[in-house]
């Protein structure tokens, strides 16, 4: 035991240089990451609103009341909005994650061929990803406009697919009005990653498959997709996290940063933000974000475990 301790001390001493180097990061992490998170968890048990704001952590302790309001209380207005936000966030996250991966995969395969002007085409495909997300929100807010929006003009006036101009930014269409811009904004990143992965697949595998007489479809599912495994694992993981926490595009699209996305467009982040910084219910806001964090940790763990398990099966 004593030996072990001195061993540890010796290792620490030997690596003291590394400790100096991580010291600033460690301090920043303690004061600006760990401390707010701990406080946030504690605040979810407090009755914290604009009246008790100045009392900070001494605000009245109410136990699980905030959680009760968010999860169980049927009469609480926060819960009504939250159920819709949860539903929208679920649909949004799944569709956007899968959509960006699918579009990115298709385009990555397209630009991985040899053709004239390949570098230029690849660069141009990255364009949507460079546009800031708040610009994406504003821009698509203009595109979805009922009278003047490009989509309605194209569908109704030019192609005559729809008989009349429909409203995209209210009603059930809203969910598509937020999903499509998000896919448009984020798929080039998937393409970039998958393309980098594609270039590591050895050509011999495809040649062998050619000799065995495999078609393109079979080659994709038997060679390309399994070989890209580490890439899409990361992409789905980060997609799940970032899309669940999506905020900028949605908040900027409705009323150009001032409006309420409505019951079919409200996401968790916009919901919590409105709760906290427009209705000044910090307690319930903190409670909701704690719940969201728990759900997120569960999802990430499940995904990691699934990945590890299937890795072992291989």
């Amino acid at each position: 035991m004593k030996n072990n301790n001195s061993n540890l001390w010796a290792r620490i001493k030997r690596n003291r240089f590394a400790y100096y180097f991580i010291m600033p990061t460690l301090l920043a992490m303690l004061f600006l990451h760990l401390s707010p998170i701990v406080q946030g968890i504690y605040m979810s048990f407090l009755k914290l609103n604009q009246f008790t704001l100045q009392q900070y952590l001494l605000a009245p302790f109410v136990g699980f009341e905030n959680y009760y309001k968010v999860l169980i209380d049927v009469n609480s207005p926060i819960r009504i909005g939250l159920i819709e936000a949860v539903r929208n966030t679920f649909v949004y996250t799944v569709v956007v994650t899968v959509g960006t991966l699918a579009v990115g995969m298709v385009v990555a395969l397209m630009v991985n061929r040899k053709f004239f002007g390949r570098p230029i085409v690849r660069t141009l495909f990255l364009f949507p990803w460079i546009v800031p997300t708040y610009v994406t929100g504003l821009l698509w807010g203009i595109i979805w406009l009922r009278e003047g929006g490009l989509v309605n003009v194209m569908l109704v006036d030019w192609l005559k697919i729809l008989p009349f101009k429909i409203s995209w930014l209210s009603g059930p269409n809203t969910i598509w009005a937020i999903i499509i811009p998000s896919i448009w904004r984020f798929w080039p990143l998937s393409m970039l990653m998958l393309l980098a992965g594609l270039q590591t697949i050895p050509e011999e595998l495809y040649e062998a498959a050619d000799i065995d007489g495999a078609g393109p479809w079979r080659k994709f599912w038997m060679i390309t997709w399994p070989m890209l495994r580490p890439v899409w694992f990361i992409l789905i993981l980060f997609g799940l996290i970032y899309n669940t926490y999506s905020f900028n595009i949605v908040i900027m699209m409705f009323g150009f940063g001032a409006g309420y996305p409505g019951e079919w467009g409200d996401l968790m982040m916009t919901n919590i933000f409105r709760n906290s910084f427009q209705l000044w219910n910090f307690g319930t806001g903190a409670a909701t974000s704690v719940l969201l964090l728990i759900v997120m940790i569960t999802i990430v763990n499940v995904w990691f475990r699934y990945f590890k398990k299937s890795e072992e099966l291989r």
Partner: protein
């Protein structure tokens, strides 16, 4: 059906290329629409007029003589027609807006909002003198709706209908030299200014803007640029023509107005300062930590790197609520303002982007061969010197690329900025919302501002594309 394998492959290839280019076009369409919208009129965006508007060719003045007919239209077009068979002899367009004319025997004077005063010779329709835009300084050129021009003796009296609409400016008619302003003189010189008298004639669909008679013939000019020749004896329309439609109205001016309509320059400056300092601080701290993580396996290093990854999982709002309350509380206790100051937001941004920077930089340091540093150590260099003289220079391109990436991320950040900045320290994403709101609905200016906010990002990205892409994809491919 005997298509060879290679021919079939070639055809498939071409089809895929076509599909790819079509998809590229669709992908770029929204960005094109943004830039295009920024050159349009705000109302056109709202009502869905896709094409650019053309300047209206309302016929403002008709000057008939024995042989010729001088037709002056609102888009600055000067048309010279033959009086007998209405054949066009000459056409000059000065592309003016809010035009008004004064004509005498030898010259035509044009007053306009965008081009100022122009003096044109009637003989060859060439410009002889001009005097830059009338509306200067505090006057928003886009808001000048009407100008009025009158000549008395050797002076030109010009008024423009905006803000100081009571003032009349006096110019020298010969050289267009500015003489003086006559405050509150409009009622005297232009009692009916701004009122276009329109009349309805039998058989003419549009409203008549101007009329002139000459030797038993009446010429009527309408709002849609049509000219009717009307015989007064027989009460019949003898002939009619239509003027060429006006020039396209590309509103480059939106890119000037956007800086005045809201204080966009301030927001741009704030964004540059905040993102610049964030990049600087985050990079300095992250470089040390990333080097330590990539070179040492010290007790706690696994926990440390796991903690860095775990921060990516925590919702931003979970930091924001306590940090906001901490800021408010801190200011209440100490009297030092934190919320709404540069240091406050820079501190939070640096901390927020730190884990991700470390994660990317670690990959760059890991790519440097260890042997180099080991050789230096054997030669008797201290660890600090090895870091400073061996590792740092080799990782510098990676550090720059990561820094730029963090800059772009901070440029794009909205939620923290919304809550933690005030009117003086607002960044672009917060300030750009003000174009559309309670007291104005300027979609055109908003799109112009969005374009301006996108340009630096695009430029920076394409300059450093290779490095950024390398840093981002390195981790994923290795697994």
């Amino acid at each position: 059906m005997n298509i060879s394998y290679y021919a079939r492959k070639r055809i498939t290839d071409i089809i895929i290329s076509i599909v790819m280019l079509a998809f590229l076009a669709i992908t770029l369409l929204p960005i094109g629409w943004m830039v295009y919208s920024s050159l349009k009129d705000s109302t056109d965006i709202a009502i869905g007029k896709v094409g650019l508007r053309r300047a209206g060719s309302d016929i403002l003045k008709i000057v008939p003589t024995d042989d010729n007919l001088l037709i002056l239209s609102a888009d600055g077009g000067i048309n010279l027609y033959q009086a007998k068979d209405l054949k066009r002899l000459k056409y000059v367009s000065f592309k003016t807006a809010a035009t008004s004319y004064f004509v005498d025997e030898d010259f035509i004077w044009i007053a306009s909002a965008n081009r100022g005063l122009i003096k044109v010779s009637r003989e060859n329709l060439q410009q002889t003198h001009s005097f830059g835009p009338i509306a200067k300084g505090d006057v928003d050129l886009n808001k000048v709706t009407t100008t009025c021009i009158e000549k008395k003796a050797d002076s030109l009296y010009v008024s423009y209908e905006y803000k100081r609409y009571n003032d009349v400016a006096v110019y020298d008619a010969e050289t267009l030299r500015f003489i003086k302003n006559l405050p509150r003189a409009k009622g005297i010189y232009f009692p009916n200014a701004g009122v276009i008298k329109t009349e309805q004639f039998a058989g003419i669909g549009d409203e008549v803007f101007s009329r002139a008679s000459h030797k038993g013939l009446l010429y009527l000019g309408t709002g849609s640029g049509k000219l009717y020749k009307y015989d007064l004896q027989s009460n019949k329309i003898v002939a009619q023509i239509r003027l060429a439609s006006g020039h396209l109205l590309v509103r480059w001016h939106n890119y000037i107005d956007m800086w005045k309509s809201v204080n966009f320059g301030l927001y741009l400056k704030n964004s540059l300062i905040i993102c610049g300092f964030t990049m600087f601080f985050a990079m300095i701290i992250a470089t040390f930590a990333a080097y330590a993580l990539s070179r040492f396996r010290f007790p706690g290093s696994d926990m440390f790197s796991n903690a860095i990854l775990a921060t990516q999982m925590i919702p931003m709002i979970m930091y924001l609520i306590p940090i906001y309350i901490m800021f408010v509380r801190f200011t209440a206790m100490s009297g030092i303002p934190v919320k709404g100051t540069y240091p406050g937001i820079i501190l939070i941004y640096s901390a927020w982007f730190l884990p991700f920077s470390i994660w990317i930089l670690r990959g760059f340091f890991a790519a440097i061969p260890k042997e180099l540093e080991e050789a230096a150590l054997i030669d008797g260099c201290s660890r600090l010197r090895v870091f400073w003289y061996v590792a740092l220079p080799l990782a510098l391109p990676g550090i720059v690329a990561t820094g730029i990436y963090i800059f772009l991320q901070a440029w794009d950040e909205l939620m923290f900025a919304w809550v933690l900045t005030n009117a003086d320290t607002m960044t672009i994403p917060v300030g750009i919302r003000l174009f559309v709101g309670n007291y104005q609905n300027r979609f055109d200016l908003m799109m112009a501002a969005a374009t301006v906010a996108t340009i630096p990002v695009v430029v920076i990205f394409f300059l450093l594309q290779r490095h950024i892409v390398k840093g981002l994809t390195a981790g994923a491919v290795k697994g």
